[in-house]
Symmetry: C2
Subunit: 467 residues, 2 copies
């Protein structure tokens, strides 16, 4: 791409727009904003990091960079796992870290949240009012803007759905600098094409998202967590399908293999209640009535015991549950950190096909002489598989993991699934997108991109190439 | 627009594609497909009515009409209320009435439903399996394709949301004839722009929808209906906000004014349990546990009684509830039929603003010397107001109702609402769209339309003009 350069003059205007302290060009800053949390991810320094404090500033910056055709990559906390926030073509990284205001609207059970708001803060703010934001991406330090960019999912999808299901309105800024409000504080709407839903999941390639209006619900009175060891991984995933088929809808149903627990315990020093079985389900249920909730818990326990569970640990105190979910939230670090040859797969398939998919994945791993370990959202068909090539040379790993990924994506699509459930395409899955999508779909997406961003300055090089 | 004409030769090819019996050109058929259920709606005959039986036929027809630039308007059961299915430019009406297969997938709690499937049939098919499709548009003879076209809403939005919230996948046919599968049987997805959500609510202007994959949930064990008379309409709508603010989420909260009930009873001979108070709430709650459900019902009853309710009728038998909801489903006919000067308003506002909006509406009516009566989805901010000009000449009514509509739309937008909640824009609200949407948004929509339908043959003249 033939992009414009940032001159001393442009820098001065940036400083005028957002103030000097919010424009960084020192090497340390540029490096800090050059990558995200993708394992062994790409690194590419921006030419400048800008931290706007309000939407007007975002607009003024975009007007300027659009005029000079300078690329701009939006960034929350950089917790993405697909190289989506890496400024491939340099230019501006626009970090939303200073835009983090939360306004809870208790009358409408909604909240207006700035893009840089961290998920953890949002949850605290609403839960202290007895409200609940049910979308539950694993990474609690991620931001609302980032969550919207990837249509993040997380643990609670089984019962409550994904981020998209809670977004009612978006304030966005187009590449031209125009500020638009899409949707708003209404729970239904049939007034023209849904541009809002087009922006959700577009990974910062169509517009800057500056504010998000979300729907909240009442905080359930009680949560219970079941921790269930199985002697075979296959029995664990089969139990998930059986639970769903019995029309039981837990809040979350997470699957994890023993090795993940052992690695996480080793890395973090924290302990699960049990770590000696091949695989585990971690199931959370919620409700307002203890009797019903415990009945539901027992039903789940019985289904699991009938399908090969070795035991069922009930955790009903806040502390015991917190301990389990705390370790759960560290699985990713446990598995990925210190591994030289590792990849993370985010395929999603119809929930009934999990056992088939896991079997196929193991076969693929065996055929290529690598290992695949898995953990994640079994209840919604989105188990994260991790191909691992211990002991392989970089060159061997590179060749093998490419083949393995391709085969895993193809298997997912063959089972009615797709290549990314919640992490997005970013750069990491760009070359595999056509496995999941028809060429005609990708070409419609390209045309849409041109409408929103004719100069191709917004997060260029992500999702698909513009040729 | 400079559209192509249908020749004898084209008709022969149509017949070859879908068989002779599925191509109608007789005057009776053309007239039958010339209008929808919009009060005093437009009428415009197509040149031919075609009833495809499968997606391949839809594709072949579209290839042909696209080549000859013949306009095509998709149609379900024609129950729309915004002139959306009227073939403004003649050409083809493609009726999906023969595509109505339902395949329930009990393993995944999903269903694959052809576009012409009638809502009533779908509900029966899933409910006999103990499953529930919670989206609940008022018109039970409407079709799945039509529901997707307008992102239909209905009664159950308070708790369960709208049609969009249950769609996981769409099979569509582009104007070029290309068949695409958008989404599928996965509950989450982050793989490129969400074309599926762009199609939902696009009123047949972007593509033909041939098949819909929907999510189902477990059928609640029990429903209870509360029928609550108020001496003032304002107290009824205020009670709705109070219920929501207490974090109670009924399945449905419908508001209705006395006059609507009287008219409906007169027109249909059916009776509500009570008809002597100024206004009523009809509230439905659901759950699996009787004790909890009755407790919730009592809480709601108490809130209403504290806010001006005169009584609370509990209906817990299926029959009594059915009787109430049966009359509820006839309100539209009761109010609209036999009225010479009437309009239907579908504004939606933040739920907390209902009382304000209702007050404003009455003021607007008084100022113009007309009447406004209302009923509908109070719980989600979507009360349908009906300006009525009894005794006005056509000319007076025309002038007045235009002003009233404009003012109602402006008031809705000023309160944070928009101009259509669930009926869509069609032709009826086209001239008001810019009250609800920024010109930049409409212009993005126009560009998107050009990508999907470069020859502007799909349902032309709807939502916005293409200039």
């Amino acid at each position: 791409m033939n992009y414009g350069k940032i001159t001393e003059e442009t820098l001065v205007i940036f400083q005028k727009i957002v103030s000097k302290e919010n424009v960084s060009v020192d090497q340390e800053s540029l490096e800090k904003y050059s990558y995200d949390e993708t394992p062994h991810g790409l690194r590419h320094c921006p030419d400048v990091v800008i931290k706007p404090e309000n939407t007007r500033q975002v607009s003024d910056i975009l007007k300027l960079v659009n005029k000079h055709r300078i690329p701009v990559t939006f960034r929350g906390q950089g917790t993405g796992l697909a190289n989506g926030a890496v400024p491939l073509y340099g230019g501006v990284v626009m970090s939303f870290e200073k835009m983090n205001k939360i306004a809870v609207d208790e009358d409408n059970l909604m909240a207006e949240v700035e893009a840089g708001t961290v998920l953890f803060d949002l949850r605290q703010e609403v839960e202290k009012r007895g409200l609940f934001y049910p979308a539950d991406p694993g990474e609690k330090t991620s931001t609302m803007g980032g969550n919207v960019a990837t249509n993040a999912g997380g643990m609670n999808c089984v019962k409550y759905g994904k981020v998209r299901d809670y977004v009612l309105g978006l304030e966005i800024v187009l590449s031209s600098g125009k500020i638009l409000m899409l949707g708003g504080k209404t729970v239904k709407r049939s007034s023209g094409y849904e541009l809002m839903h087009l922006i959700i999941g577009s990974e910062g390639t169509l517009a800057a998202v500056t504010k998000v209006i979300i729907k909240l619900i009442k905080l359930p009175k009680r949560f219970i967590t079941l921790y269930i060891p199985f002697d075979e991984a296959n029995n664990a995933v089969k139990s998930v399908s059986k639970i769903l088929k019995k029309r039981i809808t837990p809040t979350a149903m997470e699957f994890v293999e023993r090795e993940v627990i052992l690695e996480t315990e080793k890395q973090t020093g924290k302990k699960m209640p049990h770590n000696e079985s091949e695989a585990y389900l971690i199931i959370r249920i919620d409700g307002d009535d203890d009797t019903i909730l415990f009945e539901e818990g027992e039903k789940i326990a019985n289904i699991c015991l009938e399908n090969g569970a070795l035991d069922v640990f009930f955790a009903d105190s806040k502390e015991r549950q917190h301990r389990i979910w705390d370790v759960r939230s560290l699985f990713y670090d446990g598995v990925v950190k210190n591994k030289k040859n590792i990849e993370i797969i985010d395929t999603v398939i119809p929930p009934s096909k999990i056992a088939d998919y896991m079997r196929t994945a193991k076969k693929i791993a065996d055929a290529h002489g690598i290992k695949i370990i898995g953990f994640g959202h079994a209840g919604d068909g989105n188990i994260h598989l991790h191909p691992i090539g211990d002991g392989l040379s970089q060159k061997e790993w590179y060749r093998k993991h490419k083949m393995v990924m391709k085969e895993l994506y193809e298997s997912s699509v063959a089972l009615g699934g797709t290549i990314s459930g919640e992490h997005g395409i970013g750069v990491s899955k760009k070359e595999y997108l056509q496995i999941g999508l028809d060429e005609n779909q990708i070409s419609l997406m390209r045309e849409i991109k041109k409408i929103f961003d004719p100069n191709i300055i917004l997060n260029p090089g992500k999702i698909f190439d513009m040729e």
